[in-house]
Symmetry: C3
Subunit: 390 residues, 3 copies
């Protein structure tokens, strides 16, 4: 009798369980589908990031005179090399486990973003095949740093103790410092004195690129956070970008007398760079403050250190990535020490320090390797590699 | 024995409940996650709206001659001031409860859209700091009207009885009328006779801005509707936009002899403006009809009232926001009286009337305040505030 | 007593069922909402496709000299005619059942994409009202082919046995071949010898259009796949596009000596065209190989068959849609024979063959019909239909 009851109850339980399951499936939504829906939202953010990579970074770099086709084509090539190489290397497991398919795609886009930042530092000084070589060599170095700082690679930093959700350090600072490393090893003093002219008719295109980056930046920072953190992260990013945009306007007017459109296009984004590390944990007011400080740092760098007003760029960082990604990224990584209660300060500083060391050294070595394939004193222009009739 | 059974059954129920819950959680999807996923879809629409604000409104305004940098920078600044101010004021509760974090973000974007419409009416007549002042003063007025018409502010209109899902009235008409209020109080007859030249080489950029608005308009209207209404709302918006686009082509040819690209860029969007109020309740055929009528009204306004063909704009509404947002918005709000069965006509008319009164008066006052900080007879051009070398 | 137990157990089951239901609903998420969320993700992809239609196809076609306004306006009109006509015809049920509202919207966007491809073949040879007539006549022919190849129309091919998930055949090849049919029937030898000049200053706009297509192509191919297949499909598309982009760079340099920006803008996308048929079933490496082959085929077509370098286009396919959509599409459809295990080869070849026959014949007839409304030997330019002052 008791056995019968147990059997009945078990049968009943299974029936009920199937009933609930069927109810959900009747709507075309099984629990497998639920997991797929969660991945589907990551997918949407992955597409947003793709817009940043191509339209955003691509058009932001169109300001260089007679180099528009080259900048856009280089962007296409760098994205097309970085993503497959990252996915292939992730598949080998050489740099730890990168998670599900969608996580791997997003991480590969992060690598492409960091590579595009590096390219911005040497824009106009490489030929197309050299950009490709740069991409091939950059990705393993990037993954090595990612593995050490986030995934306990070599056992140096405990997984989860270095905080850099939106990549202030491992994406932005890494890319900028790697780029400076490349530039340093490839460029003699004479070369660095050669001006790269900027093309002010490209301003509208640069502002277009900047706007695309601004718009989709929340998806960049929220790409891999928990579903419950997406909205708060997004609002923090919007507030940081707003703060940086407003302060950029005030500082560009203050420091230059007039507004420089390139400052607006670039320094406004420093808020997005700097909020990265703490994007999912900061409060609204902390987010705004981080954005304002980052914007101020960035525009000051552009206005005082790098003057496009004086008939061209006289330094080796073509797009000023040190001002947009380098300094604001480091500031963002350090801000985590203040914002996040109970943070492991040692791990945070280690992560930052290791990233600086790896990026500069790897960049310097890669610059030397690329130099073997040819160097140029005068910056390239479209007509050397492209068919042009204008 | 009976007690034992009850205990057993209760235990069994709990077990089963946990089993089902675990089954869902095993997939990484708890019911909390489900709520987060619902918010995540609103998030996607919030990003789409951000694209409309910056790329859409920004580039649609690039047609003004030698004012491209200014138009894009003003767009950046207005968005950066409106969203944080709205979120801050929402946090104070002064204008009622704005709902969850994501709802507040979307509502703040609506405010920014309305502000950009206002700015379109006075584009070229303000300096950058004046745009910022405009934003600061606009947002509280906008929230006051939103509170009264939607959230039973001052007890005037019962919550839910004024129908304006996609903001035909409270976003589009409010912005246009506020802008006219500002223009009226800031502009003398002499000033309004001063032409603002349009730059036809900017047409491709204007069409780009227009396309961005067209593409993402469904997300604007569906931003806050129920998940089950999103798709129908989106299709209604697409049909309304299609109807407006087709009629704009016929009317621009009919009224002007040739096609005016600016008509295509602007009046095609009137369908999106007008479908707003009833976007989630109209049938497909109603949506097309509303779009066609709105497009016809808008293009007639542009072609007959505001003639860019005659070597410049001779009226005070720089971007013709009265033709694109003002009239089509009012038409959309009134269309609800026909489309929605059992609508509270008194509430609907009250909402429209109150919005008209508040927007014009508040705009007029804000115009007077801005005038204190300086006025100009001749429209500004880029070179007065920006570094230019073209 | 037993009856009592049954009643108790039934009541308990209902209670438990409601309990679980309530638990989900307490979070604001019923199972109906879950279905709505699944549709909501399709909605996001529908918006991405809309970006491809307007910004993507529109700006990719801006390269034609003095025809930028016309190309963008034609894009607006073609989308605005195709989507409502498709939705209306789907509602009649004349071409089978097109599924839910969101599925119908996405299918109507596919039709619009195919129509834009057709228009690319005759760009500059039609007046605006002729583009509209083309759209009206194209959509029923497109739906007829869709019905026969996918929905067992006329009982020719079993539903589900012709594999073309992302539309390599029924969208891309159909559109390209339909366009060639129109061009063949409308154009005499003399006319086809008339050059259409390309405008290299439009290159940056063309690259913008190309990037928009590249970015959102994953959503095009994954639009209607199962939720669990979205991510894998997307990655396959990205890999195919990357492969095509890289090979395009090598081949354009090889075949032309210098890089042709138009090759980069166009042939890079051939990977997306060709991966369509097997986008949800290919492995990563298969996806890359398909992309590389498709890119190579496409760039070879552009470089050897269609030479924009020689001061203009001397053939009738204005935008080279045969090189971008025709050949790569057919290759993609045939690739399914190799990639998909156990494919019904007869059905696959039938689907391809039927599509070729219907598209060419229908295009030829439509061309004759349009010819009745007027023909031109010299390509149109903006100033004939548009107000211009540049």
């Amino acid at each position: 009798m008791d056995n019968l009851k147990i059997i009945l109850k078990t049968g009943f339980a299974l029936l009920l369980f199937m009933l609930v399951g069927n109810h959900l499936q009747a709507q075309g939504v099984s629990s497998d589908t639920l997991a797929a829906l969660a991945d589907g939202q990551k997918y949407d953010r992955a597409i947003h990031i793709m817009a940043m990579l191509l339209l955003g970074f691509g058009f932001l770099m169109v300001f260089v005179r007679k180099y528009g086709r080259s900048a856009l084509t280089a962007t296409f090539l760098l994205v097309s090399i970085a993503i497959p190489v990252y996915i292939f290397l992730a598949g080998t497991g050489a740099f730890g486990n990168k998670g599900s398919e969608i996580d791997t795609l997003i991480l590969s886009e992060f690598a492409a973003a960091s590579l595009l930042i590096t390219a911005g530092a040497v824009l106009g000084r490489l030929k197309m095949p050299q950009y490709l070589l740069l991409g091939l060599l950059f990705v393993p170095a990037y993954m090595f740093n990612e593995w050490i700082t986030l995934d306990n690679g070599l056992g140096l930093i405990n997984a989860g103790s270095f905080i850099d959700t939106g990549g202030s350090i491992i994406i932005h600072s890494f890319g900028a410092l790697f780029g400076l490393g490349v530039a340093l090893s490839m460029t003699t003093k004479k070369e660095s004195a050669t001006e790269i002219e900027s093309d002010f008719t490209g301003d509208r295109f640069s502002l277009l690129g900047s706007m695309v980056l601004w718009i989709f930046w929340p998806s960049f920072c929220a790409a891999l956070v928990l579903p419950s953190e997406v909205v708060h992260t997004a609002i923090n990013v919007v507030l940081a970008l707003s703060g940086a945009t407003l302060i950029t306007y005030f500082f560009t007017t203050l420091l230059r007398g007039k507004i420089e459109a390139a400052d607006i296009a670039n320094a406004s984004l420093a808020g997005g760079v700097a909020i990265g590390s703490v994007c999912n944990s900061a409060s609204y007011s902390e987010a705004i403050i981080i954005g304002v400080v980052a914007g101020a740092l960035s525009v000051t760098g552009f206005a005082l250190v790098q003057s496009r007003l004086q008939k061209g760029l006289k330094i080796i960082d073509t797009c000023g990535v040190s001002n947009l990604h380098g300094i604001p990224g480091l500031f963002g990584g350090l801000a985590a020490l203040v914002v996040i209660k109970g943070i492991d300060a040692g791990a945070q500083l280690s992560g930052i320090g290791i990233t600086i060391v790896i990026s500069v050294i790897a960049g310097w070595i890669v610059g030397k390797i690329i130099s073997v394939t040819g160097r140029r004193r005068i910056p390239y222009i479209d007509s050397e590699e492209f068919t042009v009739d204008d």
